[in-house]
């Protein structure tokens, strides 16, 4: 699709100038554009071809400690003047909030210039034909591996290039450009009776050349689907579980959300009084690393414009740092630490999952989740699980329709081992995690 080239920097300068002239004390403008292509295949033909370019202007204004933030896709100066006036008018009817300001500019200083390699220089060389071929390859290998068990295979690829320019009236200026490539397949297969298990395997990378073998990708989607056959619930039991690498963040997110300063200030955090205290076993170290080359969460500045910084959020089980943005730092009277998360990493162990299972004897490997929730005020959580039951180190059956429930303050103390298999196709780079003595509910 043809689009007009936009000079984001000049437009940002103009918007800031006009917003201050229109009566704002301060303002911040974020301009972005994204070009994306989606291609899906089913039954050896394109099921969907979708392509477009989008753009967005987000303007935040501060007027006498009153605040509003509005967005529009319209970049034309002829209409933006009216938009700016409306946003300022919107802020003026808000109640005064003394904590609502742009950050002190001293916190903008010290930004790293390291090359985080988040934009593939060869992105523009990707042709429509190549996109189709990549997805077809994934579909073909999934169909071949699935064989006569296949009911349906859908393979899909998505790629995009994103650019932003952000500027505030008190001295922050930042720009970013990144690319992403996502590809994979989902397969539905015929199990016994009416059950039609659906498995999937998708990956996402910053650089096209970092994608794994497409044949292996499709094959793995089929293997994961066939590996769901015969899933059924067993009697409720207390047993060690292994959270498979790619899904472990689903459970761990319940431990992260209460670390945000907003949760703490709003009395919705069970971790509010736990800074410096242990909430997990010694293996529970969680590092936030914004500088990971080609990382899906890599960044040089955060949502407030603060320089990105590598930090341990949990260190050997102890809460090391809360996630404090500018606004809530002022409300709490704390120093800001950054309210943004980049790449979160749990260090891998030394043994593979297969070896760990042999050692554990009886355990459930959790490969997927359904529904569930985590209560940030109490730490209680409950989530449906799908997985594999092992006894004496040997696979016994697939399990489905089961559930795990616990409290995070107990659960992570039972973290017994991390495997050697970090899942790199995510912002949460976690290895498979072994948790002792979990009640898995079934019959």
């Amino acid at each position: 699709m043809k689009t007009k080239e936009l000079n984001l920097q000049d437009l940002a300068n103009w918007v800031i100038d006009q917003t201050i002239k229109a009566g704002a004390d301060d303002c911040k403008v974020s301009l972005s554009k994204r070009r994306m292509v989606d291609i899906n295949y089913r039954e050896h033909k394109p099921e969907v071809i979708k392509e477009a370019t989008t753009r967005n202007l987000y303007l935040e204004v501060f007027v006498n400690n009153r605040y509003a933030g509005h967005s529009t896709p319209d970049y034309r100066q002829s209409t933006l003047g009216e938009f700016i006036k409306e946003v300022i008018a919107g802020a003026k009817i808000m109640e005064e909030d003394p904590y609502r300001t742009l950050p002190d500019p001293k916190y903008y200083e010290g930004r790293s210039q390291v090359d985080i390699q988040v934009s593939d220089p060869e992105y523009d060389q990707l042709t429509p034909e190549e996109r189709h071929q990549m997805v077809k390859t994934v579909e073909d290998s999934c169909l071949e591996e699935g064989g006569d068990k296949v009911i349906s295979v859908e393979a899909g690829g998505h790629d995009e290039i994103y650019e932003e320019f952000v500027k505030s009236s008190n001295g922050f200026e930042g720009s970013a450009k990144n690319t992403a490539f996502q590809i994979g397949a989902s397969m539905t297969a015929q199990d016994e009776g009416d059950r039609r298990p659906q498995g999937y395997n998708y990956v996402v990378t910053r650089y096209k050349n970092d994608l794994p073998s497409l044949e292996e990708l499709g094959k793995k989607a089929a293997e994961r689907t066939l590996g769901l056959f015969g899933g059924k619930k067993i009697a409720t039991t207390k047993i060690p579980v292994i959270l498979e690498n790619r899904g472990a963040a689903r459970v761990l997110s319940g431990l992260l959300n209460p670390l945000f300063a907003g949760s703490i200030q709003q009395k919705r955090s069970f971790l509010a009084d736990m800074k410096g205290k242990a909430v997990g076993s010694k293996l529970m170290t969680l590092t936030d690393d914004p500088f990971l080359p080609r990382g899906l969460g890599s960044m040089l500045y955060d949502g407030d414009g603060f320089p990105a910084r590598k930090r341990d959020i949990f260190r050997e089980g102890v809460v090391n740092e809360f996630l404090v943005d500018w606004y809530y730092s002022r409300k709490l009277g704390w120093e800001p630490t950054s309210g943004s998360i980049s790449n979160i990493i749990i260090p891998p162990g030394t043994r593979g999952v297969d070896e760990i299972i042999k050692d554990l004897g009886n355990c459930i490997l959790i490969t997927d989740y359904i529904g569930g929730n985590s209560n940030s005020t109490t730490g209680d959580f409950s989530v449906g699980i799908i997985g594999k039951l092992y006894e004496n180190g040997e696979f016994v059956q697939n399990v489905a329709e089961m559930n795990i429930a616990d409290n995070h303050l107990k659960f992570w103390n039972k973290l017994a081992e991390a495997a050697n298999d970090p899942w790199i196709y995510s912002q949460a780079i976690f290895p498979s995690l072994v948790i002792d003595d979990v009640v898995v509910a079934g019959i």
């Binding site: 699709m1 043809k2 089913r42 394109p46 099921e47 969907v48 071809i49 392509e51 477009a52 989008t54 933030g69 509005h70 529009t72 896709p73 319209d74 034309r76 209409t79 009216e82 409306e86 946003v87 008018a89 919107g90 802020a91 009817i93 808000m94 909030d97 009911i151 539905t188 297969a189 199990d191 009416d194 059950r195 039609r196 298990p197 659906q198 619930k233 409720t236 039991t237 709003q266 009395k267 919705r268 359904i370 529904g371 569930g372 209560n375 940030s376 109490t378 209680d380 409950s382 449906g384 799908i386 489905a400 329709e401 089961m402 559930n403 429930a405 009640v439 509910a441 079934g442 019959i443």
Partner: protein
């Protein structure tokens, strides 16, 4: 008018010409979308063949005002403007969209859509006709959203009343979110449909503190409504529900884990119908044979007293639609009648596959997405039993009052939903409150396990309910009478028999 409903209109080339059946439409008046450009775009979309093409113009103004720590101190807004152009060939879709309503950009988007086919041009209808559609959320045609000044006092009132209701309330968050969406659908087979859709919700979330322990709860009311809905009575209901639910949790415990009878209370528990049954009856999953219901059409799936409806015609409910997002009128669709699976939820593509009429379920999040079969307001009709009879019959199990975070595995039919409010049932009576547990089950199995249905059908009048599918969120609602499910798995931290 400021703060709530931006009146800013990025007029492009308004009032270019009169437009036949498109005369008087909002997009002609404001953006110059006339019959001539629509014909040009449809011709481009079908320039390489295809069964049909459609244009979906959208202009949405959204606004959110939030209260925290006693002050209405944040206003967020968004303008969404653009057109999505779809070319359909069999079950294949080409889709392009643009936020720029200039002829050049729109034709480029149409050309993208056309790439799904590689044949000669296909014809478009010789004339356009306005669709006869319902009026399930009547609103003044000049309605341009709820202004911020009107929202402010309601939020302040919510805050004051929550604190006044109990001195154990330590935090109140409140918000009033609303949007006004204008759509214009023009199809290559000659349908023109325009709609004006108000929606929103008012909500409060509270944190209560007792003896060093904290609990939280919230409630919202809304739907496809203008400002007249948001009265003092609505504020009072939100306050009472939020505060009482939070306080009740101090006495709550997690039930034993395992299989047991489950009574679904009336109203919001219809999420279970939505997750466990409704998704599996969306026809795209069935035409691809990926749904567990794909071989059950015409077969018995429940007891004869079970009837399940998906309805776009309920007045002011969040999932109601005058017209769906591909130009089919909103309507009522029977899914299960007297225990027999009678039909699926269709968009145009699946309807053609099955040789039936579309059911008005072709919905999309916005112009950046193409329509797919989606639910609207899904409910079970009332039965003959009383709620008291049902609780007594359950014996020992749990009673579910409020739920969230439902999810289903379409092929297996396995589902889960999270119980945020409920009670134990012991010896046929409601006893201790429960909280923070997941309910697991299998949709088809659960449907056959519904053994009693009460006479107290209630709809859920919240406006914040969003259903996600293929990365698209659309507003939906539910309805449910009290009913007894013979057995579901309850996920707790204690094994039956009390071992922890």
């Amino acid at each position: 008018m400021v703060g709530g409903a931006l009146v800013f209109l990025p007029a492009i080339n308004a009032c270019k010409s009169s437009g036949g059946e498109l005369t008087g439409n909002y997009f002609l008046n404001e953006f110059g979308i006339d019959e001539s450009i629509c014909r040009k775009l449809l011709a481009e979309a079908l320039s390489k063949g295809g069964d049909f093409a459609d244009l979906f113009f959208e202009y949405t103004l959204s606004n959110y005002l939030g209260l925290e720590d006693g002050k209405v101190n944040r206003s967020y807004g968004n303008i969404s403007l653009g057109v999505g152009i779809r070319t359909v060939k069999g079950d294949q879709i080409g889709y392009g969209f643009t936020q720029d309503l200039t002829d050049e950009s729109m034709i480029s988007a149409a050309a993208t859509a056309a790439t799904i086919s590689d044949m000669g041009p296909a014809a478009i209808g010789s004339s356009f006709a306005k669709l006869a559609k319902g009026d399930y959320y009547p609103v003044d045609p000049a309605f341009n959203g709820i202004p911020g000044e009107s929202k402010l006092p309601l939020l302040q009132s919510l805050n004051e009343k929550c604190f006044a209701q109990s001195n154990e309330i330590v935090k109140v968050n409140a918000a009033f979110s609303s949007d006004i969406k204008r759509t214009l659908i023009v199809t290559s087979d000659g349908v023109v449909a325009e709609d004006l859709i108000p929606s929103g919700f008012l909500y409060a979330a509270v944190v209560a503190e007792r003896n060093g322990k904290r609990e939280q709860a919230g409630w919202n009311l809304g739907g496809r409504r203008d400002f007249s809905f948001y009265t003092d009575e609505v504020v009072d209901e939100i306050v009472t529900k939020s505060v009482n639910n939070a306080l009740k949790l101090f006495d709550a415990k997690q039930p034993p884990a395992g299989e047991m009878p489950v009574v679904l209370g009336p109203g919001i528990t219809g999420i279970l119908l939505h997750e466990a049954i409704g998704h599996g009856m969306e026809a795209d999953f069935n035409r691809k044979k990926t749904s567990t219901y794909s071989t059950m059409l015409g077969k018995k799936v429940a007891e004869p007293f079970v009837n399940i409806i998906d309805d776009g015609t309920n007045r002011n409910l969040a999932g109601s639609i005058n017209v769906d997002d591909e130009g089919t009128p909103g309507q009522k669709t029977v899914l299960v009648e007297n225990g027999i699976l009678t039909g699926y939820l269709h968009d145009k593509i699946s309807a053609k596959v099955y040789g039936v009429e579309p059911t008005g379920n072709g919905r999309r999040q916005d112009f950046m997405n193409y329509p797919i079969p989606r639910m609207r307001n899904t409910y079970m009709t009332a039965g003959d039993a009383t709620p008291e009879d049902i609780i007594k019959e359950a014996g020992n199990g749990i009673y579910v009052e409020d739920v969230s975070n439902g999810q289903v595995k379409i092929g297996e039919g396995d589902f889960a939903f999270y119980v945020s409010q409920g009670r134990m049932i012991e010896n046929g009576k409601l006893t201790t409150p429960i909280k923070d547990v997941n309910i697991m089950g299998n949709g088809p199995k659960m449907l056959t396990n519904i053994i009693m249905v009460a006479n107290d059908l209630e709809f859920y009048y919240g406006g914040a309910g969003q259903c996600g599918k293929n990365g698209q969120g659309v507003p939906v609602s539910f309805g449910m009478p009290t009913c007894l499910v013979k057995s579901l798995t309850v996920g707790g931290t204690q094994q039956k028999g009390g071992r922890s």
